[in-house]
């Protein structure tokens, strides 16, 4: 384990508690927060405005067509759900692996997960032609005596996403309870005390409670870990089960999961780096944390790169004319720029992460995190659109060109995401207080001979 401590400086139980709780309880806050809130609020307005127009006119306002019947909506969905993977991965896997450094980042990472997954969940509804009937994907007793079609990956997807959302939410909330109690006891006003108190469920930190709590939390971790893997695997089946060249590939599940974590950790950095700066959390989210996150990005990035290589290899190795055609189309077709963009953003540039100086330079990391997310979005575009634009019969080949509404809604959703996150920072502790105390405690223990 690295020598640098996970908490820098001379912090005690009390000071840790006060420091983190004050971000929530103390007003006024850093001005940049207000600015950010306003900007993202505006973007959110655009998002919902465009949504309204979409519902009145129909999906024809986008660039989708036949053969490219799936466009941004699905790409965005996969992208967001991918981002939504880091949080639960951090809190589940790293918990099981006893990675103590997770403690200072899992809280906001999980929040990020929830928001991202939530926004991801919106896209399929926007995507369908008759959203008001989207509930037909839910099995419920009805007078038509008719059921969802269980063989469809979209139904699997519906179950996977909703399970993932619920479990993540529960996981997150359970983790919050003791901290809510902290806020309850330090609340500056009666109402705040009651609100936090209500959600704290009357937590009082009794030894037996802690015992059961830890067991339950560990179980949740154990359940969430395979869930994380399953969710993006199933998302990948939306494509892999299809027969379109460029979709129909057995490598998709691992390759999608890796990609998800890749973009997920990128988003963690995108959020953590400004946050630790503006709210003075450098001592809790130390460079060592960033370094670890960067290493995971490097690892997952390499898996993704492997995926790219294997796709090309299998295409030619299988000697399937359609697969080869698809690959050549990615290389040299009308969307070649996307493919090469993906390679640059996801494979070439991130190799910087091999170098310590890059991993320890917040600016480089921040820039990289953005590049990688761009790259991962483009990858989804490449998979969804490029594959569809040229499939089996040359006569039905066609192009997809995004409309202004495609772009508006994508940007709007990003705005909405950050809006939610900014709100979160100010109403709930962005770092797990009690786990930080625990960390401190273990540190003290460690000092004893």
């Amino acid at each position: 384990m690295a020598s640098t401590p996970l908490i820098r400086g001379r912090w005690g139980y009390a000071s840790i508690t006060d420091k983190i709780a004050d971000i929530v309880l103390r007003r006024p806050t850093h001005w940049i927060w207000g600015v950010g809130l306003l900007v993202t609020l505006l973007m959110s307005v655009f998002f919902f405005g465009a949504m309204g127009y979409l519902f009145t006119r129909g999906v024809g306002i986008w660039g989708v067509n036949i053969p490219v019947a799936w466009g941004f909506a699905i790409g965005n969905f996969v992208w967001w759900i991918g981002i939504g993977h880091a949080g639960t991965f951090i809190s589940a896997f790293l918990l099981l692996l006893r990675q103590k450094w997770r403690n200072s980042i899992n809280r906001f990472a999980e929040a990020m997960t929830l928001f991202a997954a939530g926004i991801a969940g919106i896209w399929p509804i926007l995507h369908v032609g008759r959203p008001w009937f989207a509930y037909w994907l839910v099995p419920y007793p009805n007078v038509m005596n008719y059921w969802p079609q269980w063989r469809s990956p979209l139904v699997w997807d519906f179950f996977a996403i909703s399970t993932y959302l619920i479990v993540s939410l529960v996981f997150w909330y359970v983790g919050l309870v003791p901290d809510l109690a902290t806020l309850r006891d330090r609340a500056t006003s009666k109402t705040k005390a009651m609100v936090y108190g209500f959600f704290a469920l009357g937590w009082r930190g009794e030894a037996r409670h802690w015992a059961r709590y830890e067991i339950a939390y560990l179980l949740l971790g154990g359940l969430a870990a395979p869930l994380v893997v399953s969710v993006h695997s199933i998302v990948s089946l939306d494509f892999a089960v299809g027969n379109t060249p460029g979709y129909h590939s057995t490598i998709f599940p691992p390759y999608f999961v890796a990609g998800a974590l890749y973009s997920g950790f990128a988003m963690v950095l995108t959020l953590a780096i400004p946050m630790r700066h503006f709210f003075g959390l450098e001592d809790f989210i130390t460079k060592r944390h960033l370094d670890n996150a960067a290493k995971i990005m490097l690892a997952t990035g390499l898996i993704v790169a492997y995926g790219y290589c294997m796709e090309v290899f299998t295409a030619f190795y299988s000697n399937d004319e359609y697969e080869i055609g698809m690959t050549m189309n990615r290389f040299f077709g009308p969307y070649a720029f996307v493919y090469w963009g993906v390679i640059t953003c996801n494979v070439v540039i991130p190799q910087l992460l091999w170098f310590r100086f890059a991993r320890y330079n917040v600016w480089i990391l921040f820039a990289l995190s953005l590049v990688i997310q761009l790259g991962m979005w483009s990858e989804r575009f490449m998979i969804v659109v490029t594959s569809l634009s040229r499939d089996f019969l040359p006569s039905s080949w066609g192009l997809f060109v995004p409309s202004i509404w495609d772009v508006t809604m994508l940007i709007g959703s990003i705005g909405f995401f950050f809006f939610l996150f900014l709100c979160f920072i100010r109403v709930l502790p962005a770092i797990t207080i009690f786990e930080m105390r625990e960390l401190k405690h273990e540190e003290l223990e460690g000092r004893q001979p």
Binding site: N142, V143, N145, G197
Partner: protein
């Protein structure tokens, strides 16, 4: 600090929670009942003329086909033209106030506007002729019309209701010659009025394409 929540506060919260559960529960049930719940007994709608099937069918014993003349050859059973009504009522009850609209229609050539009792969604293609041909008695769907002063709907006409029969048609079928007899199929069958037609497999009958195009 003292307790965050006073005993009263806790009590209130508990009551609130209980209330929420009740409200949501009832709300859910209500919506379900409204949209999907079975409603077999629909009110008989207002009609321009209080035409009584009880009188015409039950008492006078007029055959269904006299008025619904296309029921055996078309998807649509047919609503009698004014002319058909007048074929009797030019002689009978000629001074009846009640029949004024009919006479008016005949005179002006403007048709009567009845209110539809049995309506299906537009994407359902129901065909009377085939049900008649396969020995499904009128009564199966329309009930004892001969006892209805004003016709009302007795079946929900929902897909699940259609499926009940399409999944197991036998008990609902009778001898083709007895299709128009206004008596329960069970009786008719008991008296030997068993179906004399063969029908397609239930798999075929439950195909989507059987009713939807």
């Amino acid at each position: 600090m003292a307790q965050v929540f006073s005993a009263r506060a806790v009590l209130l919260l508990k009551l609130a929670a209980l209330g929420a559960v009740v409200v949501m529960g009832t709300g859910l049930i209500a919506t379900y009942k409204y949209f999907w719940g079975p409603d077999t007994v629909a009110e008989a709608p207002e009609q321009p003329i209080p035409f009584s099937h009880k009188h015409h069918v039950g008492d006078d014993g007029i055959d269904c086909r006299y008025c619904h003349d296309s029921v055996e050859k078309s998807s649509f059973a047919g609503i009698p033209s004014t002319h058909t009504c007048m074929s009797c009522h030019s002689q009978l009850f000629t001074d009846q106030k009640m029949l004024e609209p009919v006479r008016a229609s005949m005179a002006t050539g403007q048709p009567l506007h009845w209110t539809r009792v049995h309506t299906l969604p537009d994407f359902v293609y129901f065909d009377h002729s085939i049900h008649i041909a396969k020995g499904v008695g009128c009564i199966e769907c329309h009930g004892q019309v001969d006892r209805m002063p004003l016709v009302r709907r007795v079946a929900s006409l929902q897909m699940q209701w259609c499926l009940e029969c399409h999944r197991d048609p036998e008990p609902h079928r009778r001898k083709s010659s007895l299709v128009f007899v206004m008596r329960p199929t069970s009786e008719i069958r008991a008296e030997g009025g068993l179906p004399d037609t063969k029908i397609q497999s239930t798999r075929r009958l439950t195909d989507c394409s059987t009713c939807h195009r």
